[in-house]
Symmetry: D2
Subunit: 372 residues, 4 copies
Amino acid sequence: MESVGVGLIGTGYMGKCHALAWNAVNPVFGDCPDIRLVHLAEVSEDLAAAKARELGFEKSTAAWRAVVEDPQVDVVSITTPNAFHAEMAIAALEGGKHVWCEKPMAPAVADAVRMRDAAVKSGRAAVLGYNYIQNPVMRHIGALLEAGEIGAVHHVRFEMDEDFMADPKAHFFWKSEAASGYGALDDFAVHPLSLIHTLLGPVSSVMADMAKPYDRRPLSDGGHRPVETFDVASVLLRLESGAAGTLCVSRSAWGRKGRVAMQIFGSEGAILFDQERMNEFQLYRNQGHSANQGFSTILASPDHPPYDRFLPAPGHGLGFNDQKVIECRQLLSAMSGDPAHVIDFEEGLAIERTIHAMARSFEEGRWADVPR
Amino acid sequence: MESVGVGLIGTGYMGKCHALAWNAVNPVFGDCPDIRLVHLAEVSEDLAAAKARELGFEKSTAAWRAVVEDPQVDVVSITTPNAFHAEMAIAALEGGKHVWCEKPMAPAVADAVRMRDAAVKSGRAAVLGYNYIQNPVMRHIGALLEAGEIGAVHHVRFEMDEDFMADPKAHFFWKSEAASGYGALDDFAVHPLSLIHTLLGPVSSVMADMAKPYDRRPLSDGGHRPVETFDVASVLLRLESGAAGTLCVSRSAWGRKGRVAMQIFGSEGAILFDQERMNEFQLYRNQGHSANQGFSTILASPDHPPYDRFLPAPGHGLGFNDQKVIECRQLLSAMSGDPAHVIDFEEGLAIERTIHAMARSFEEGRWADVPR
Amino acid sequence: MESVGVGLIGTGYMGKCHALAWNAVNPVFGDCPDIRLVHLAEVSEDLAAAKARELGFEKSTAAWRAVVEDPQVDVVSITTPNAFHAEMAIAALEGGKHVWCEKPMAPAVADAVRMRDAAVKSGRAAVLGYNYIQNPVMRHIGALLEAGEIGAVHHVRFEMDEDFMADPKAHFFWKSEAASGYGALDDFAVHPLSLIHTLLGPVSSVMADMAKPYDRRPLSDGGHRPVETFDVASVLLRLESGAAGTLCVSRSAWGRKGRVAMQIFGSEGAILFDQERMNEFQLYRNQGHSANQGFSTILASPDHPPYDRFLPAPGHGLGFNDQKVIECRQLLSAMSGDPAHVIDFEEGLAIERTIHAMARSFEEGRWADVPR
Amino acid sequence: MESVGVGLIGTGYMGKCHALAWNAVNPVFGDCPDIRLVHLAEVSEDLAAAKARELGFEKSTAAWRAVVEDPQVDVVSITTPNAFHAEMAIAALEGGKHVWCEKPMAPAVADAVRMRDAAVKSGRAAVLGYNYIQNPVMRHIGALLEAGEIGAVHHVRFEMDEDFMADPKAHFFWKSEAASGYGALDDFAVHPLSLIHTLLGPVSSVMADMAKPYDRRPLSDGGHRPVETFDVASVLLRLESGAAGTLCVSRSAWGRKGRVAMQIFGSEGAILFDQERMNEFQLYRNQGHSANQGFSTILASPDHPPYDRFLPAPGHGLGFNDQKVIECRQLLSAMSGDPAHVIDFEEGLAIERTIHAMARSFEEGRWADVPR
């Protein structure tokens, strides 16, 4: 690849994040093809034009199909609401474009399957936006696990919590509608699952409980409406590796702002991490005199690539958006057919099947196997 | 009560802890009857005599019944292995003594029921050694919850972890034998349950998974023996209050030394605590401008009674053994018929029934109700 | 300004950081003029060409004067070693360019004075790269102080520590030569001083001690060479505001990687911060019942502008390089004559005079006033 | 010694702490002579009698000389205000008693010298109540330093802060009177100095600044009175060992409740500690791959004697008062002529001379040597 033409559909939270990554990937890594920001789609011509100027795109449109059909576009970033992912991603793949799609894939498994099939058929890179796996600290944790630094992992605990739905006085909005999905399960649980998949391998069976902290929420014009989704889920996990553990997620956890916490226990040590302090992790190893054993807090550093591409000094810290720049670089590798550390549509489908198995286990009150 | 005669059966870890408490309770609180350390039992005459001198008891014996029958003894501390609790406690109660018995009550529910019945019949104080509920920080958390400071509690997560069985090379010992109980469930889970009971009320139904990190352990004379107990348990909880959550316990969690952690989420805030830092807790309240909201780390202080009985200065800190002194003071209240913050045999039985329901849910692979 | 042409001299650590900022500033803020990356200078034609491609600049040169004389260039980023700052910055200012120069200004006060004079005469923006003042958390701390949230500040403690010179076995290199300056004083102390200046106002008098942890260092070809600079400095401070405190800096502090810590004590509360956890700070206020008072750990959020320009979600975190993007945005304001939160050459000169007063106090063994 | 008769003068904060220690020392350590609590003095007969009953003493008196003259008393705990220490300690020593005296020795150096001389002449144990040196974690830190685990120490930073005088609205009381001493210097600085002496050796020269956060304080009957003492002090230190550093103390540091913090930097690593979390410390060593280096948080455990005498389980934690029990055990060793880890009157005098040198350096505005 000498150059890469980029299309972008959607410019919200994640759309801007993609655009920042496309702007930064070559200055940061210095080994990429030329990145040309070609075509951007938004819901109106005016908004699209404004955003194109702001984010550095050459052309803009209110018709997203113009992006996936643009011959100058090689790869399409899809950052629209989940309900649109399948149609857009499949159209792009069928148009011969590579696809960088935000997670989760689609509310219905059937759509996720169609997306996976389209990706396989196209032979193009089809990568999901599971950015937490790109944190250099997380990559290093993966390397430690692979090297057996904490021995055989037998028990894990994962949590993902925020508080944007913690206030019972907050008005009913679309995330409380059944149409938006199960709730915290598909909103959050997929993220820890992306970590579990890349660090520990797939989940074999699950047993979930779900809860509604608030049965109903006020409407802006008075009155109330029953809440249809579950802001909290707690899950028992068994992994194919033989390890077991828990996964807890909540959108109503006061005080938690971006917690993605994990505890991994092995036969020779343990590893702790929390995304709210994304530039550090804790390592315990049963080594040396017990009088001096403790969890070491290790700060992100150039020893944890590709941190070194951002900063030559340890402990200075990356940010959330930098993860997306790394993901973008991995996507470019995938587009070139090189090895890439990503969640593609195949693995993304496995993650979503795990979520649906969780919901099933909750409805049936018993363990559910995750279909392969 | 003008004076209290104390008997002690067992002088191991908890036996010494009881003795320290009996020595300290009046100097610390200054409002107790005279405490006379009367009679101590150990497995041999020699050991009993040595320990009596060391711990300040007047008489010693190798026959524990001599203690429960001693007319000078008003209350008996029972700190022997669990298997002996029922016989000793019932004998003491039937002898008209008050009883201070270490947890858990007994391996079999039937024995715990007999203990409860003996206590009811005797009209004596029958108190279990659930010392974590006595931490002044924990008492203050209870007061905050009761005052509604974090609103209605809807979700909780409890953990109790240590690493004394984390090393796979450690020899097989009695805690890996089925005769010792389920494993981490009765060893550890009862402690968080004592907190749940006093802070949040009883558990209504449970769904547990249990795991053996290591299938077998080496024998000291070579060869291996299969492990019969579960060092790890993970449990989904539903409380009578309507709140739900998780309880995770492990005896094989490298790096954890005395972790008893809890996260309590309510409609107006959240509370965090970890016994490894027993002199602080964290409080988040949805109050004031969001730009200045965060978890406050609050240090134990004289504002959290009875910390003030130990120290007039905040932030100087109590220790594990001080909890037992407080428990001892509460026991004295119970003996006088005054209100006391304790887990008595009635509530202790409810806790043990919860443990057995967990084991049942694991065996059956489905939710189990906790019998009342 | 409809568009801004950018020149860059130097592409090392800070040069890349400037380039990343120039690439990101408009996508992040969306309210900037067009940013054109025009001309880049490096020590050789080849390196310059390679870096220009990598960092997105149109032209490259090995002659830095070509950049400051380029009519398409409006602003020049100067990120070369300190010894070159004066010549380059003055040439750029005299050429009518705005200047964005890394700190500190120059080894000699006389040169810093000449830079300040050139800036005044030119009427152009002349901004120094004191990026820690741009952290949204730090801006919020400034707002809290200004609003009197912790009352009148009376005592402060600042620290800046890293360990890149902590190893006594590391070879002698240029930072141990007297020609490089005093040592930790000019390398590090200027950063906390930039925070002191923006948060608390200027320093009036100082009393410093300096130390060499290692008297000599090995040479690569065998033998040793005496160390000529001071890797550690400890300073007593008195501020014009009446507050007092300490400033400690070390380049040989094992375990510290990017510590820039401050403790600010006022009559109504206190604020703590450490750059190693740059996305949080701690606030204590003497408000409410003392039983619930503690340091609140507040995570960076959209409530702390301009965090909101990077991320709509709280607690997700910015990185070190994001601070430079904010600094770049402030520079653009300064170039437009709008209010800007920057350290300009005037204030930078005051900071450097403070450093020299510290060195003087050390040599003379008594307090030194900071000249105005 | 077959048995030890104890006298106690004063039953306030520290008096109670001594009494608790005397009650606990044998049950905890199990290797002490019989401890008989013989005679207690307080300001009135009634108070003395009440406290004697509460704290377990046989006799009580309002005449403190009755205690030091009681032939049944072997050792006298002196916990009265500093102004009385010299007279009482000297009387006790001259009466052939051992002395356990709270710190600091006396407001005037001359009195401290007389106390030291009386101790030398008597040949009795004369021990000061510097309890922070007794923390098992601190003892372990001492062992690590002695073993060279962090190499040669070159830089240290000590802090001791509380907030009991942080409120400017608090009424003027005796601690703001010049008669009470310098202020934070003698109130607090002696404690970090006790750590410096035991861990790192004596201080050779000092340079101090002192500050009054509030010039005047309200009187209870209206009006104000000028504050005569300094609630804050900041000191540059040079140690005889060649290390250097800082010592900062404040009685007006909002949010700090019992902070005694230290940072010790050596050529091979670093150690951090804060008494507010007295059951842990942090150790960094330049060992192994830099990618895995970080500060290890090590919890107090039976590996750190004499923690094992209190608890067999790691991470369960000691409290402030337990330090005094250890100090009491060390005192008993000193009384028997065995090696003891204590600050005796000789070393206590060196500490107080250091304080006075600090005050002198402040008054003179230049470095002051500490007289030997």
